[in-house]
């Protein structure tokens, strides 16, 4: 049974699982120090130079699993010890160059940066090269390689640079906590802080009867995760962990679709506010456009606010694919409504820390939201939902010209054009992860089929319209009158 895409995820999971296990037992303070040796036993290294380094890195993962460096406000942290200081020379000619006659590389280079040695092999003059990459594209042997760090390449917010010690550094002023680097670093040297201990505390309290009910608010992308079991079994597993009940964040998405479509019709131009990494990107990279952001809370915060309005003592935990949500619920006003955040990776660790085999559980049910709320999880879904919201609100006259942006690079271009007033659209749907939330860094798996799974889950919704799903919710909630952004 394959639960994760990579071994890096598996190592992170082991640290999370062991931390959670000890937390349930109440022995974490005493026994945390023994976790690295439990995960890396013996004296034969399998990943690094020696077992001692391997254990030292696990100890860093344990720290992050326990909440990480609280003095660093960013939820994404570099594990300096694990950074392999990858080469980063940019374009270079490898030994695959055969010194051919055509010299397409030389022809295409506008800077005259290609020279040849006595064996006619190409060399790149770094004083002239501007790293445009044309030579690599035309080489018939693919002999020209681009040595950039996977972390830097993955970071479309351009927040990663290299420190003097060659270890990666994250610039908090630019980082939007999307987590792309966490998933892309082949050494697992960048990790998201975990709040799994806060969740264990909430659940322990709730189970003991002394505490308050804990509501799990799950993101619709859950339908593409835990593929080894049925969705109903995941719900049953959550209740076994001690959650009082499981509510779809997608119902919050229905509420947002309703309020955002009306807000759009009123203002005439809007940037979506569902994706916390997009919101953060607008604020940090295009502050002049901040006023264009929708006033709606994100779907998970919207539904959590509603839960707290009907059960004021409730505690809510958002469970999703997203590392940026951890930032949203720790350093924005939405933190008032969402008490803690877990990723799907962390949920898997939590199940296993209690030895809950969800495959063995009877299926429970999960059904609150409409088709439209559920397809928020994939790129383009929000724009579809907004069009529906306009129709259902009787605002058919308003012509929606949506610009769905799949990933940071797409919305950077859209925001630049909006700044210059050359964008032919009145709504930008910004999703930082390529593919939408299903491409999130906290997903267990990132597969081609995930979009199909989300669409299928959407079609299974009993409610076919947004209005049906939000029928009983008071207008003050659906219209987000106390919007706080």
């Amino acid at each position: 049974m394959k639960k994760f895409d990579t071994k890096v995820q598996h190592l992170k999971y082991l640290a999370l699982r062991e931390v959670a296990k000890l937390a349930w037992n109440g022995t974490l303070a005493r026994e945390a120090i023994g976790i690295p040796e439990r995960i890396i036993p013996g004296n034969q290294p399998t990943m690094r130079c020696c077992v001692y380094k391997e254990r030292a890195i696990i100890a860093e993962r344990v720290k992050l699993a326990m909440g990480g460096d609280r003095s660093n406000p960013n939820v994404i942290e570099v594990i300096g010890l694990a950074c392999d200081e990858c080469p980063m020379g940019g374009y270079e000619v490898s030994s695959a160059c055969r010194g051919c006659l055509a010299h397409r590389c030389e022809d295409v280079c506008r800077r005259g940066a290609i020279t040849f040695n006595q064996k006619r092999e190409a060399r790149i003059d770094k004083t002239r090269c501007v790293e445009c990459g044309q030579c690599a594209k035309v080489c018939p042997y693919g002999a020209i390689l681009n040595y950039t760090r996977p972390c830097e390449r993955s970071c479309k917010a351009k927040a990663i640079r290299v420190g003097e010690d060659k270890v990666a550094r994250i610039d908090g002023g630019k980082c939007v906590a999307c987590g792309a680097c966490v998933y892309q670093c082949p050494w697992g040297a960048i990790m998201d802080k975990s709040y799994i201990l806060d969740v264990v505390d909430l659940l322990k309290d709730a189970v003991s009867g002394a505490g308050r009910k804990v509501y799990a608010v799950v993101a619709p992308s859950i339908s593409s995760q835990f593929t080894y079991a049925k969705l109903g079994q995941v719900v049953a597993g959550l209740k076994r962990l001690g959650f009082h009940t499981v509510v779809e964040a997608a119902l919050g998405a229905d509420m947002v679709a309703m309020s955002e479509s009306r807000e759009l019709a009123k203002k005439g131009m809007l940037l979506s506010s569902c994706c916390p990494a997009f919101v953060s990107y607008v604020r940090k990279h295009f502050p002049a456009l901040e006023t264009r952001l929708s006033q709606s809370l994100s779907p998970a915060a919207t539904i959590s606010r509603y839960i707290k309005s009907v059960d004021p003592a409730a505690k809510t935990v958002f469970i999703g694919p997203c590392t940026a949500k951890k930032a949203e619920y720790s350093d924005t006003p939405a933190a008032e409504f969402v008490d803690s955040t877990l990723t799907f990776e962390e949920l898997q660790a939590l199940f296993d820390s209690r030895e809950i085999d969800i495959n063995a559980l009877e299926e429970d049910v999960l059904d609150n939201a409409s088709y439209y709320g559920r397809i928020f999880a994939r790129s383009g879904g929000l724009s579809d939902a907004l069009a529906q919201g306009l129709r259902e609100s009787g605002l058919d006259d308003f012509e929606l010209r949506a610009f769905p942006c799949d990933g940071i690079e797409e919305f950077r271009v859209a925001l630049q054009r909006l700044s210059r007033n050359t964008l032919d659209a009145n709504f930008i749907e910004g999703m930082a992860c390529v593919g939408g939330c299903i491409g999130g860094a906290g997903c267990l798996t990132h597969g081609e089929k995930n979009k199909l799974e989300v669409d299928k889950y959407g079609r299974e919704a009993l409610e076919k319209t947004i209005g049906d799903a939000v029928r009983v919710l008071p207008e003050s909630v659906t219209l987000g009158k106390s919007g706080i952004f």
Binding site: H244, V246, D364
Partner: protein, 81 residues
């Protein structure tokens, strides 16, 4: 003000809580009781076997789309009119 809460949690939802909500909304406005009855949706009351769960103030009733009329007359109309 009579407080009427219908469970819109997953289990009750599948048993038809939306129809119960729709009918109650209709009945409340048909009898002009908007000022006297507050209808809201809530999540799991922990009595899924007895769903669709509806509370009138804090007393729990089991209602289905078929029994909603009778429920309304007995538990709501009788109390506010």
């Amino acid at each position: 003000m009579l407080k009427l809460s219908v469970c819109i949690g997953s289990s009750c939802h599948i048993k038809g809580s939306r129809h119960v909500v729709e009918d109650l909304q209709y009945l409340i406005s048909a009898h002009n009781l908007q000022e006297l009855v507050e209808l809201s949706g809530t999540f799991c009351m922990g009595k899924c076997q007895q769903g669709v769960c509806v509370t009138v103030d804090d007393a729990l009733s089991t209602v289905s789309p078929d029994t909603v009329n009778a429920f309304f007359e007995k538990e709501v109309l009788a109390k506010v009119v």
